[in-house]
Amino acid sequence: MIMSDDFPNRTILVAEDDPISSRILEKKLKSWGYKTLLAKDGRGAWEALQRPDVRLALLDWMMPGADGPEICRRIREGKKANYTYILLLTGRDEPQDIIVGLQAGADDYMIKPVNFLELKARLQTGQRIIDLEDKLLQTQAQLTELATKDGLTKLWNRTFIIKFLDEELVRAWRTSSPLSLIMLDLDSFKKINDERGHQTGDKVLMRIAEILTKGVRPYDKIGRYGGDELIIVLPNCDLGSVCLIAERLRRACAAERIRANGKAIKVTISAGCVSSDHLVRLTGDRMIQASDKALYRSKVAGRNRVSAFPIQKTRARKRTT
């Protein structure tokens, strides 16, 4: 049995130039629990269909501006993220019209004046399709999350961050803009794990990830490279700027007292920075290697510091020696 709350708050577009038909449909649909949106012509219908909450539509075949099949064609060719279930209403009853309507992208078709019990049941079919699509999209989003994010820190995983680095390098070459990379790790992280347990180590790592995420620009990406090694890819950022950002992140981490098991833990990070700003045909692998060397330099210099790797200058020196 169909109840009035079968369609809780679902918005439906009624595109109908006949005011009587429009008013009857509006009243019926509201009594079934829909929120209605009315359009009197093709232009109004097209505008309403751009709204993400409009997933169900009743379109009249003949309307000023653009007819129902034309709007169907346009919506199917468009880039709307979610599917819109379209039911065409018409006074026409020629089989050829039905074919035209369905080929244009309509999901269903009813002859006017409509039988309301039938309309209600057909809209339920549309609702089932929309619900199914929502579930599929939700599952897809969950799978994407699993495939690209690190389960512990919620940072990007190694595969994703390396792919992002490679893509951004291509963009940097094309646009002649600098791309920078920071590799960092937690100082004495093994000691934290050994002395306080891995669960504490996990909490520390998660908190550091949060601090770093807050500290970078919205378009930078942070990934877990492995263990406690993290890398940050910073598009359109030169060596001077990346060193300033890395230093800011280092300070933010050093200022934090991370609480775990009732104790406050002070954690510092060491970082190595590299930038593509004056390098030619640099690969992602080489940037990672270079930042790793800079990170090593921070470690041997006493930890809790930032080092840069000016690859070009180093190479030049090597060639001259």
Binding site: D18, I20, S21, R23, I24, M62, K112
Partner: protein, 114 residues
């Protein structure tokens, strides 16, 4: 087309479609009156201009409104207008316009409205 029962309106059928809501039926009849006046005025202009597409569309629109309110004779007359537009038949359009006027007066008599 809907069978012509001879009466201008199948009120029982219209009320059945509206779940017996007489107030709502009256609201729709008021909308229809305004719609009828606007569309027949536009039909006169379209006939004068021999705008057959407008004749067809106006006939089609009034046909739908009439069908929704179970007005079979007005629905038939509006269908004649739509057909005249399709067939580019000015004489047929004039006849349909006269028939619409006649049927509308019959409807008003039937409903007891001035």
């Amino acid at each position: 087309m809907t069978a012509d029962s001879g009466i201008p309106m199948n009120k029982a059928e219209a009320l059945d479609r509206l779940d017996g809501d007489k107030t709502f039926l009256q609201e729709l009849l008021n909308i229809y009156a305004a719609e009828y006046a606007e569309k027949t005025g536009a039909m006169e202009n379209a006939i004068r201009a021999a705008d057959f597409r407008a004749i067809r569309d106006l006939g089609h629109g009034l046909k739908g409104s009439s069908a929704n309110l179970s007005l079979p004779r007005l629905q038939d007359a509006a269908f004649d207008m739509e057909t005249a537009g399709l067939e580019k038949d000015l004489e047929g359009a004039l006849k349909a316009l006269n028939r619409l006027g006649h049927e509308y007066r019959r409807l008003k008599d039937f409903l007891g409205t001035p």
